[in-house]
């Protein structure tokens, strides 16, 4: 673009370098533009943008790059094309298993295409350096595009001259010229009155024959408010990478247990997980017996640790802070902490048994005594017997060398070794191995292990009421997201700006009358249809009847 060196307009106004239309009277400043007869480009009212400098230096060039809407559109297009790539195969982040190996998974599951996908890093598209860079560039573009335009635009709209240059009026996309038979001052006033009825603010200059009617100027700020909201939103997204601002972990709680939430001062207790299915009479035919789930819920109590927190030896002192029934759409919320229902496991877990000791020789039975799986007592007195707990295995198994081992710390196959003293037993006591679960007793042949002692006595649970077990384990997703409120603020402003900018349009109508010769021009940033209707309505009120469409100067669009 040719920048006029002398930017002083014939009306006497001094314009900034790069101004296309005089800020005061609207006369086209470039000679080439003045000669042409095309409708004027009214974007930003033809003011000079900040980026239009005569001799840009390096920083200016970067500024100019990001201030270009064309670049912004390219960034948007590249971003959504890139986002498409990420949906071809599932992203690695959707697999939360610790053993998940993306390298193996993608090639096994999707063959060569999967291998290429993995090689290109597309299994982590949305956290890849190029995707994040694109988002940051869009953010930069939002900031710079807005600053570049909003200030000059504000200036231009704030000091509008009422009487515009003929070239400006005639080359608007909606325009009209004609003769006025009435007295010009009276006619102008009447025209202004008609537009006031349509909600316009009407300004008439001191001569009384030039008019500016304006409506909904605030809608011009919509895009900028929207962009500020989007910037806030993007900043909030970036803020989530601040340590502690975004916690995303899982806890598994077996019914009745209280567990600490790692990384916080909270403990959470599950009073039980439950699942409810729909009855068959609530389901349509093809879903009968499909086991469609009606509710998942966990009753929980949240505690805050008051003392002895993180102490290895002392029990922490817990203070109850909240009770809640967690549903899928109803998490527990306490301050910034949220607990969401994530998953469940219906495998029961044994907690404690209350068995009897039976003397097989006499048939007498003693007890019961209480044996817990976690932290059991080390010494028991039961009738004439005394028992010392020597060893325990929570998940009993025999390794390849034939030695007993435990596979895990969960009580899947608990086993206890007692040294028992009592009537008709060796003075130092005799070793007895006890499997509380009937299936393990058979699987590991308890009687064979205990040899003769198995004929002398037995430890046995009498009925299910003497077994304490948890029916289910619930998995909760622990969330802290401190950025989320800023996110909503950003979304709110973005939405507000969007509504301002789209559901209202800035409409302006100018006219001047020189010796009964009326020249009218009108501009809007969108909805020319409505603008032409307004201008034609007011003309009709002043005795000039015409088809609104005839005001069109080939630029109804926008």
């Amino acid at each position: 673009m040719l920048l006029p060196v002398n930017s002083k307009c014939e009306c006497g106004h001094q314009n900034a370098v790069g101004t296309v239309l005089c800020e005061a009277c609207g006369k086209p400043l470039e000679e080439q533009l003045m000669k042409s007869n095309e409708p004027l480009e009214m974007r930003y009212d033809g003011v000079a943008r900040r980026s239009q400098k005569a001799n840009p230096d390096f920083l200016d060039k970067i500024w100019n790059f990001f201030s270009s809407v064309k670049i912004a559109i390219y960034l948007i297009i590249i971003t959504f094309l890139g986002a498409m790539l990420g949906t071809i195969f599932p992203q690695a982040s959707t697999f939360i298993s610790a053993t998940f190996n993306p390298k193996v998974y993608y090639s096994e599951q999707y063959g060569l295409a999967g291998e290429i996908y993995y090689f290109l890093g597309l299994h982590n598209t949305y956290s890849s350096w190029w995707f994040i860079t694109l988002l940051v560039m869009i953010g930069t573009s939002l900031v710079i595009c807005s600053i570049d335009r909003v200030l000059p635009l504000y200036r231009a709209l704030n000091k509008q001259q009422i009487r515009k240059h003929h070239a400006f009026l005639k080359r608007q996309k909606a325009t009209y010229s004609g003769q006025v038979t009435d007295e010009p001052v009276q006619w102008t006033k009447q025209y202004g009155e008609a537009l006031k009825k349509k909600g316009y603010k009407v300004h008439i200059d001191e001569s009384g024959t030039a008019l500016l009617a304006e409506k909904n100027r605030f809608s011009r700020w919509g895009p900028y408010i929207n962009h500020i909201g989007l910037i806030l939103f993007l900043l909030a997204v970036l803020a989530r990478s601040i340590p502690d601002w975004n916690v995303d972990t899982y806890v598994s709680i077996t019914d009745g247990d209280t567990v600490p939430i790692v990384g916080t001062n909270y403990y959470v207790k599950s009073d039980g997980f439950s699942m409810e299915l729909y009855d068959n009479d609530e389901l349509p035919i093809e879903l009968k017996d499909s086991g469609r789930v009606k509710t998942f819920k966990t009753d929980v109590v949240l505690y805050e640790c008051a003392a002895n927190c993180g102490d290895d030896f002392l029990q922490p002192e817990l203070k109850e802070v909240k009770e809640h029934t967690i549903l899928v759409n109803d998490p527990l919320r306490y301050k910034e902490l949220k607990l969401h229902q994530f998953d469940f496991n219906l495998t029961p877990r044994i907690n404690a048994v209350s068995p009897m000791i039976i003397n097989k020789e006499t048939g007498e039975s003693y007890g019961p005594f209480h044996l817990t799986m976690v932290d059991p007592e080390l010494y028991y007195e039961v009738g004439p017997y005394s028992m010392e707990l020597i060893d325990k295995y929570m998940d009993f198994s025999i390794n390849s060398e034939g030695e007993p081992i435990t596979l895990s710390s969960s009580p899947n196959a608990p086993a206890f070794i007692f040294n028992i003293k009592g009537p008709n037993l060796a003075e130092d006591g005799e070793m007895f191995m006890y499997f509380p679960l009937e299936k393990d007793k058979v699987r590991f042949s308890q009687d064979t292990i205990n040899r003769e002692l198995a004929n002398k006595l037995e430890i046995k649970v009498d009925g299910m009421e003497n077994v304490d077990f948890s029916a289910a384990t619930t998995y909760l997703n622990v969330r802290i997201d401190k950025a989320v409120k800023f996110l909503w603020i950003g979304a709110f402003f973005s939405m507000l700006g969007l509504i301002m900018g789209t559901y209202w349009q800035h409409r302006r109508i100018w006219l001047r009358i020189d010796d009964n010769q009326l020249t009218l021009g009108a501009h809007t940033n969108k909805n020319w249809f409505g603008l032409r209707a307004d201008a034609a309505y007011a003309l009709k009120r002043c005795g000039i009847e015409l088809d609104p469409k005839s005001l069109d100067n080939g630029g109804h669009k926008g």
Binding site: I73, S97, G111, R292, K294, V328, N329, H340, D481, T502
Partner: protein, 420 residues
């Protein structure tokens, strides 16, 4: 008669009212040269009749929606059938709003067939009320889904007006390379619509004939810990198997034109649940769509676009351009609110994260980015007329992919939406 039966009857009434309204619009346009009538008066009269009929159709459609809501006790937006009928309904709402702004009756000529195709497509899916699974038991289901659908409906009206604009302005006497290219792409767009119709015709045709085929498919899978597992699934087809599932054996195939087994096997690299059946359905849709298109071509003996073009001559293309743009501008904030912001709020409540890069979320974002590029092209780069109309047409393809394609081709969090 209970609420749900009444609801089904209303749906059928709405469908036929839409069909009649479409026919009346055709009479309004095509009948101008009948006899010695005054063309302008004829058009005004018949387009008024057509608009009243389409409004009655919308009323019936609304009563379908609300009586189904009352009858089932849950808002009917939770599975594919309910969602797509909702989309059809919101398109009619959007069309009615645009009609009141611009009073350009002939837009109905394109909005109505679009709605008719969409609700016919919805009827392919199972129509029973399915009680809500826990993830959907939220008030946000009502707000998020209806708002998103309404936003998309305005994009659909933008598409209809954009397509009309192209049919109006593309000059079939232009034999330059550029002109030929525009004609070819427009014809391609029309053929794509025929393929959708082909799907509906094939689905109903074979369903009506009671066609079934069953295959046993063997799937070898790698678990996350690296073990190989083999599973056997029975895959049911409702259309003759041009493509049978990968690595499968026919259990039972109804004979169709001498076909007793799949003609081809689906390649192994087609992923997703029931990819064989989906590929087969696509192939049938293309075949039936092309046959329908071929028959029409044989009758009219020229490109379809060239046949429609002269019928639109009375319409001002600038109005169409503006209507298309305006519909999209009105839809954009609604879409932003419904499909992104409300979706994020709900996701934050249900899953504890407002955004998880789930395929459906990503495609909603892609749709949003696409239309924001459209708005910037239009507002700041001055793209009007043809490029703008093409963007509106392509945009609706992206909308449809987000709504339906993601569920059919890519599984994800939204896969519960009850497809096939």
């Amino acid at each position: 008669m209970n609420w749900l039966d009444f609801s089904s009857s209303s749906f059928i009434a709405a469908f036929f009212l839409y069909v009649f309204a479409f026919i009346f619009y055709m009479v309004a346009v095509a009948g101008k040269k009948w006899g010695k009538r005054d063309a302008k008066q004829h058009e005004a009269r018949w387009s008024k009749i057509a608009f009243i009929t389409s409004s009655l159709g919308l009323l019936a459609h609304l009563s379908f929606f609300f009586t189904r809501w009352i009858g089932s006790g849950q808002i009917p937006t939770s599975n594919m059938y309910e969602f797509i009928t909702l989309l059809g309904m919101t398109i009619m709402i959007a069309y009615t709003i645009i009609h009141f702004i611009y009073k350009k009756p002939l837009l109905g000529m394109f909005a109505l067939p679009l709605t008719i195709i969409i609700i016919a497509y919805a009827s392919v899916f199972p129509q029973e009320v399915q009680p809500l699974i826990p993830a959907l038991q939220s008030n946000w289901l009502k707000i998020h889904v209806t708002m998103a659908a309404l936003g998309e409906a305005f994009f659909a009206v933008g598409f209809a007006a954009g397509l009309m604009y192209l049919l109006r302005v593309i000059d079939y006497n232009d034999h330059t390379k550029k002109g030929k290219r525009a004609q070819r792409w427009l014809e391609f767009t029309l053929i794509s619509i025929f393929i959708v119709i082909g799907f509906i015709v094939a689905a109903f045709g074979f369903k009506g004939a009671g066609y079934v085929a069953q295959f046993q498919q063997e799937t070898v899978d790698v678990s996350q810990v690296g073990e190989l597992t083999t599973s056997y699934d029975v895959v049911e087809y409702t259309m003759p198997p041009i493509f049978k599932p990968y690595n499968s054996e026919a259990l039972q195939v109804t004979e169709f034109l001498g076909m007793t087994d799949g003609l081809f096997e689906t390649p192994s690299w087609f992923n997703g649940v029931n990819s064989g059946r989906k590929l087969n359905t696509v192939v049938w849709s293309i075949i039936v769509g092309l046959i329908l298109y071929g028959i029409i071509r044989l009758i009219i003996r020229k490109p379809l676009g060239a046949a429609i073009h002269p019928k639109l001559e009375g319409i001002d293309p600038d109005d169409l351009d503006e209507i298309s743009y305006r519909a999209i501008v009105i839809g954009f904030p609604i879409f932003t609110l419904g499909a992104l912001i409300f979706a994020m709020i709900w996701a934050e409540i249900a899953w504890g994260r407002f955004w998880g890069w789930d395929p459906k979320e990503v495609w909603a974002l892609i749709t949003w980015l696409y239309y924001s590029a459209y708005l910037h092209f239009r507002l700041s780069r001055g793209w009007h007329g043809r490029p703008s109309a093409w963007l509106a047409v392509i945009g609706f393809v992206i909308v449809l992919f987000t709504l339906v394609g993601v569920n059919l081709l890519i599984a994800g969090m939204h896969s519960y939406a009850g497809v096939d």
